[in-house]
Amino acid sequence: MHYVFEPGFFSSGPVHVALAVGTVIAITSAVVGVFTVTRGQSFAGHSLADIATTGGSGAFLIGVNQFWGYLAFGAGAAAFMEMIGIQRRRGRDVATGVVLGAALGLAALFLYLGTQYSSTTGASFSILFGSIFVITPSTVPALIASALLALATVVALARVLLLTSLSPDIAAARGVPVRAVGAAYLMALAVSVALSAVIIGAVLSTALLIGPAATALRLAKSPLKAVITAAGIGVVAIWLGIVLAYDSFYWPPAGRGWPVSFFVVTLIVGGYLVTYLRRDPRRAGQEQAGQEQSIDAEQACSPV
């Protein structure tokens, strides 16, 4: 490798698109993800990703852009989950065993048929693992608009979502339409999963949703800081992933770039693991009763 930025990185059209779309989607996923983790709905996020796989492969089979397949199936699945009550344990069991199994079975069929007819061998790969460098330019406005819509929904619902996480009964008693808010949130989640599926693939989209959020929740205490930290982590992972994937064209086997999704997911997991190296300031505070000079420790634990 000669440089960090290999020749042509800054003049490449696909790189520009990837950076722009990747940034918007990373921010949306991370912000939505903070609420997903806070609400304990990571499972719903992953289910939506599995079902989006079916949508993407179905869209490929009938020759429509995959994003619309991800979006249609994700939104449909979100509505169905709301109906069967994904939050209840029984609902989860049914969803895992029956719905997700059926969805992935269909995805297998669609991909098989699709690749039989069109001989596009890369299709299965791009649906499952993403294709940020081959985003169709005509879908870019739709991608950005969907991302902003999902982001705006979650920002508008932020306080209500937090109050509902604290206690659904308090929220309901104060006139919050808890069920409708949950449904609106689930739709924003479906959109965000469809968007991550475009850039890092349907099966990996949960990583972009939950990874930065989970890391941020280990580092930041307040809701605002958690959202900002998660967005920052998501954007950095996408940017570094894009740079590394571009560079990897020159790595062995030369002439074939490594998948962006690999880099993005590895960076996100790496970031999460790094938070474990950092001493937990709260625990340190409890052990040493304020001797530590950390701001957190000082705040968390004056002696009883």
């Binding site: 604290l166 009964d169 929220a171 309901a172 104060r174 919050v176 929740l217 307040s222 709260r282």
Partner: protein, 272 residues
């Protein structure tokens, strides 16, 4: 019915899944009054609180606020639920939770303001929770969480505060702390308090009135009027004894077919 009642339940009945949970319950609460909602587990205390909050539809009767049917959305009732389902990693600091008490039901975003920060800070001081204002609420002990949730409920200046078993699972000193904070704030802010508990003893020094619930029915009045063997036996539908020992009150029931020498303390617990 007295006209100065803040809250009035009129012949409220709730039937769920073919079972009568509450039967013909009537009582009133006046401003600033401290009322204990006492009874064994499963007697219908939580259902009664949910009826007052508008979370549980009634099969019969009415809930009146200032003599009018309770509006769907009402800021004059504050609520402290029994338990929060918060994981330690939920990014809500104590001050965030109290701040949500002001406007957590509103859509959109708000900008931080000094006035709000001071209001939150004052409220935390009032309940004795300023020490852990910046800790995550999911990491606190049960007693600490109760204080935070009392601050959350009181910051919007309700006229009635409902608390569901706030003393359950607390150690004795936290229990006394919560009771004295509530009694002080109820008096200072003229907030009526309705607090459910399966043990009336920690509340004896502060309780103005008692609503004793058993088998879905209630007996209402001063503690001395209600906690009588005749009154409670009628309520339970079986013979119970009221034993006063070392300044504590035990309600003791004799199960059917067991003679009274082997009477056992109700789960209501009155034995501790």
């Amino acid at each position: 019915m007295t006209s100065d009642d803040l809250l009035r339940l009129q012949n409220v009945s709730v039937r769920l899944g073919g079972r009568d949970i509450l039967c013909d319950v009537s009582f009133g609460i006046r401003p600033g009054q401290f009322t204990g909602l006492i009874g064994p587990n499963g007697a219908g205390k939580t259902t009664l609180l949910k009826v007052i909050l508008g979370l549980q539809p009634v099969t019969g009767g009415a809930v009146l606020l200032d003599g009018e049917p309770r509006p769907a959305r009402d800021a004059s009732i504050g609520y402290v639920p029994q338990k929060l389902g918060l994981e330690p990693d939920v990014p809500l600091r104590v001050r965030d939770v109290v701040s949500l008490g002001l406007d957590g039901h509103k859509f959109g975003i708000r900008l931080p303001s000094r006035a709000r920060r001071e209001l939150v800070s004052d409220m935390l001081t009032a309940v004795g929770a300023q020490r852990y204002a910046d800790a995550r609420v999911g990491e606190l002990s049960g007693g600490e969480q109760q204080r935070v949730m009392i601050a959350h409920a009181l910051i919007s200046r309700p006229r009635l505060l409902l608390l569901d078993e706030p003393l359950a699972n607390l150690d004795i000193s936290s229990e006394q702390g919560i009771v004295s904070v509530l009694a002080r704030l109820a008096r200072a802010e003229r907030v009526a308090v309705l607090l459910s508990a399966h043990d009336m003893n920690p509340l004896m020094p502060v309780m103005d009135r008692i609503v004793y619930v058993a088998a879905g029915r209630v007996a209402v009045g001063d503690t001395d009027e209600v906690v009588q063997p005749e009154v409670l036996s009628r309520l339970y539908g079986q013979h119970v004894d009221v034993i006063r020992v070392h300044g504590r009150i035990l309600v003791v029931a004799a199960p059917e077919g067991v003679d009274e020498d082997h009477a056992v303390a109700e789960d209501a617990g009155v034995m501790r």
